[in-house]
Each structure stands twice: as C-alpha cells, then as structure tokens.
C-alpha cells in the first residue's frame, strides 16, 4: 500500500495530462497527413509532403514570428533586469508590494489589455491626437499596424514573466557575497559583472523560456495591433483551423511549431536542469 501511494495520488492528474496533452499531439500529427475537406471528411493518406508545402508557403510568417519572439525577448531582458534588481536590492520592506504592482496587469484579461493599447495608440486616440494637433508629428503618422506596435504589445504582455524569475534569482544573492567582492577591491562594475550577473543568469534563462515561447506563438498582438504585414504563424494556424477548416495545413503548421519549440526547450532545459527551470517557470 505504501509503495502504491504515490501512484494512486498521481493517477488522476497524470491521466488527465496523458489523455489531453500527450494523446492530442499524436492526433495532431495524424490529422496533418490526412487529405480532404470539412464537407466530405478527411482520409488518412500519410501525405508527408504537406510539411514541405506549408513550410515553403508560410516561410515568411515562420521566420517573422521567430524574429518577433527574439526581438521581444531581448527588449524584455533589457527592460526587466533593472526593475528586478531594483526591487530585489532596494525594495526593502515594500518588496511584495512592488511585486504585486508588477503582477497587476494579470488581473485584466490579456485581450482586453491589448484592445486597450489599440485604443490608446489609435490614429486619433489619446496618445497621437494631442501630438498631431500640437504639430509634433505629421498627420499621417501612425503606430498601429506596424512592427513596432506588435513587438511593443508582445513586450507589454509578457514583461512580468521576465521580471519575476530575474527577481527571484537576484533575491537569492547573498548581500555578503557582494560585500566580499567590494572588500576584495572589486569596483562596482566588476562586482556586478563577475558576481551578481552570473548568479542571476538562471533567472534570465527561465525568463527567456517564459517569454520567447509564448511570444513566438502569439497571434493576439499581431491580430489586434498589427496589420497585414505583421501576420505571424499563430494567425495563420488560427485562421486555417477556425476559419478555413483546413485542418491538415493547420495541424502541419502547429506540429512544426511545436517540434521546433519543444526541441529548443528541452535542449535548453537539459543544459540548465529541468527541475530548476520548471520551478522557476511555475513561480
């Protein structure tokens, strides 16, 4: 009984993950090689050439998504690191209050926040209308439907996922270690680059995982803030699945996206230790 206990505890949740996470991936792979349409049904034909076809057809969107994901992640690190380190080292008694402030956006639906940005950045909206009437920017200046708007939206929506893990890593840095560096005549800069920065890297790695993956697969920001030139792979998958009903194409695309992401994630997690990244990710 005692030996069985952990298995009995794991069983319901484990089955849920197995049936609704692992099995669907197999079904998705199976759907991707079928042929047919929603009216006449789909038949399994093991049509593997679809992978070559969709990659050729949507190469631009794939590369664009990865590019936006990389750009958004880089901007997030640059924005988040100073915030995280200030809260960790200077937050004092109000640390948890600052953390709550960082998490505030999560109490508003992701879509609603993005729509709110759309209104703020609209051509005649709150931000641009005064600038235009003051003559500071030209009348046809616009932010919406540009790459900047989409990457800005991505950074906005995922920034807390970068701040939190970096904060957690920095919070663990023992102040005495920094003191020791100073005692050993390290300059402020040397103490940072040789002591604090290396100790905070696990947090940065976790943050990269938590932001790069969802940013690359995102379609809400491109859909709401972007234009036809900003279509990401997520928008294509969403349209093919839910609007066009072209399940094989959509499945092949999302299977490719998943394969690329999972291989990347597991290589990344393997190098850093799964349990650590998992825990950092769950915070």
């Amino acid at each position: 009984m005692k030996r069985l206990a952990p298995y009995l505890l794991i069983l319901p949740g484990g089955l849920w993950l197995l049936i609704f996470l692992v099995v669907p991936m197999v079904f998705m792979a199976s759907v991707s090689t079928q042929e047919g349409d929603t009216l006449n049904g789909f038949v399994q034909t093991f049509n593997l050439s679809i992978y070559g076809d969709v990659l050729a057809q949507y190469r631009t969107q794939f590369l664009r998504s990865v590019g936006y994901g990389l750009a958004g992640t880089a901007v997030s690190i640059a924005l988040a690191y100073p915030v995280a380190s200030w809260i960790a080292f200077k937050g004092g008694a109000r640390k948890s209050t600052y953390l709550l402030l960082v998490l505030l956006p999560f109490f508003v639906s992701f879509v609603l926040r993005t729509v709110s940005w759309k209104f703020l950045l609209a051509d005649d909206g709150l931000l641009l209308a005064p600038l235009k009437s003051a003559g500071l920017v030209s009348g046809d200046f616009h932010v919406l439907q540009t790459t900047v708007a989409v990457i800005g939206g991505l950074v906005y929506n995922y920034l807390p996922f970068m701040i939190l893990p970096i904060y957690v890593a920095l919070e663990r840095v023992d102040p005495r270690v920094i003191e020791a560096a100073h005692d050993l005549y390290a300059s402020g800069r040397a103490a940072f680059t040789r002591v604090v920065l290396p100790l905070s890297l696990p947090g940065v790695f976790a943050g990269v995982l938590m932001t790069f993956v969802p940013m690359t697969a995102d379609y809400v920001n491109a859909g709401i803030l972007g234009g036809p030139e900003n279509t990401m792979i997520g928008n294509i998958i969403q349209t093919e699945y839910l609007v066009n009903g072209d399940y094989p194409t959509a499945s092949a695309l999302s299977f490719t996206l998943m394969a690329v992401m999972l291989i990347g994630i597991f290589a990344y997690a393997k190098a850093l230790g799964t349990e650590n990244v998992l825990e950092a990710a769950a915070r």
Partner: protein
C-alpha cells in the same frame, strides 16, 4: 532552492534590510533607477487606467476611444448586451469548475511529487514541464484535433477540460514546493499518538500544505478566467468574456466591457492583497 524559501524571505521583509550594509546618502544612480522602475510600472498600468476611465466615458458613438465627459450611466446599463452578460457568466462558471477540479488533482500530484520518491517521477516532471512550456496555441490546436477526431462537440465541457489541463501543473508545482518543506516528524508523532492515516492527513498534513493549495487554486482561477487562446480553439460556439471582446474589437467595444473588466480587476486585486496579508501572517 524551492519556492518555499522565497516565500519565507518575501514574508520577512525586514530581514534583508538589516543585512544590507548602510551606505551614506542615496546615490544619483539609485534615484534614476527608482524613477525608471516607476516609469515601467506606470507603463504596465497605463492601459488598465484607460480601461477603468473609459467605463465612465459619456461616449455616443460605438467607438469608445475619445473622452466625451464623465457619466455613471453605463453602470446602470450593465446588462444591456445579453450575449455579453452570458459570456461573463460562462467565464465565471468555467473558472469555478476548472479551479475545483484542478485544485483536487493538482494537490494530489503535488503531494506525490513532494512526499515520495518513485519510479516515473522524472517522466511526470517532464510531462508537467511540457504542459507549462508548450505554447498555448499548440495545446489548443492539438486538443481541437483530438476533439475533431473523436467526433466530440466542442463547448463548455471541452473548455473546462482544456483549462484544467493548462493549470494542473502550476497547482502541482505550488503544492509540491510546500510538501517538500514539510516536517515528517510531526506526521510520525501524530501516528505514534494513535491517529489514523486519514486523521493524520486532515489534521496535520493538509493544514501544512494549505497555503500552497490556496495559492494554487487562486492561480488556476486567474489563469482560467483570463484565458483566450486555448479557449478559442476548444469552445465551438460558446462565448466567454475574452472571446466576446475579441469578436467585438472590430466593431468597437461598449463601455460595459470596461466596467466588467474593472470589476474583475478589482476582485483580483482584492483577493491578491488578502492572500498576501494572510500569507504573511501564516508563515
């Protein structure tokens, strides 16, 4: 290394303060950094402020973008769009049911992972990690493949299944962190004093892991009520609050959406504040 000691340190804000070496005066760099942190926090809050404010906007057109004056009339006409009311009700029902299921399954998993060493633990961690790290788009798309292949009608039930799926690992990890830090000798003492395993669990183990269970449940609720991507793939014709907003974006969002968003926001902040305060007392 576990999340529990972060909670402990976060709960004792004074500890860090005393350990830090006192430096005379506040350097200019620190002051600039503080300004920067507040600027980032303001940026994070900006679209939320706009959302709240425009619930009071006396707008006449469908597009609620420009300020027309203050009014309370939308608060009295909250139920003007029956589909919107229904969507919000659906969101709440889904979140409540999904949270209940997730909390039970996730707590059991967290206990198993935190209390026992068993074969298959690594595999369980791996699948949980995949559930946290996989892009939502891919999870949604593969679930839809499963439901299509199985001929299942998508709607309320499939959305709840999906929501339990993506929040399960978060709850399990939160509870695990708590279960790992548990003092075994207290349970042994209870058993030595003649308590049955059942009594030991409810009177000793469960109260000890309860903070983790509560945090996990709150997280599951927050994840569920805000979810858009997986919901869009698994909902069929069912509407939820975020789905309704997405659908209405092109036509213009009525002020009622701002008000409902504000109410959910206020509720979330209130719960988070209460949780932080009681959490501080508990540890």
């Amino acid at each position: 290394m576990s999340a529990s000691d972060t909670m402990v340190t976060a709960a004792e804000p004074g500890a860090e303060e005393g350990a830090r070496p006192a430096r005379p005066g506040i350097r200019l760099g620190d002051r600039l950094l503080k300004v920067y942190v507040w600027a980032v926090l303001a940026w994070l809050f900006l679209p939320i402020a706009v959302m709240i404010a425009f619930g009071f906007n006396d707008t006449r057109s469908k597009s609620n973008i420009n300020w027309q004056g203050f009014t309370l009339k939308w608060w009295t006409r909250l139920g003007e769009y029956p589909e919107l009311t229904e969507a919000v009700t659906n969101s709440l029902n889904i979140a409540l049911l999904a949270t209940a299921i997730t909390t039970v399954l996730g707590t059991l998993m967290g206990l198993a992972l935190g209390r026992y060493r068993f074969r298959g633990q690594g595999a369980t961690n791996l699948v949980m990690f995949a559930a946290i790290a996989s892009p939502e788009l891919v999870m949604g798309a593969s679930l839809l493949s499963l439901f299509i292949s199985a001929g299942a009608q998508t709607g309320f039930v499939t959305v709840v299944i999906a929501h339990v799926l993506f929040s399960l690992s978060f709850v399990a990890v939160t509870v695990r962190a708590r279960a790992v830090g548990l003092d075994r000798s207290v349970e042994e003492a209870a058993r030595d004093l003649g308590a049955s395993p059942w009594t030991t669990f409810w009177r000793v183990t469960f109260p000890a892991i309860l903070p983790g269970v509560v945090s996990g449940a709150l997280l599951a609720f927050a994840l569920s009520i805000d979810d858009f991507v997986i919901t869009q793939f698994t909902s069929g014709s069912l509407q939820t609050f975020p789905l309704w907003i997405w659908g209405a974006t092109r036509m213009g969002i009525p002020p009622q959406v701002n008000i409902l968003g504000t109410l959910i926001f206020a509720l979330g902040v209130a719960v988070a504040v209460v949780n932080t305060l009681t959490g501080r007392r508990r540890t």
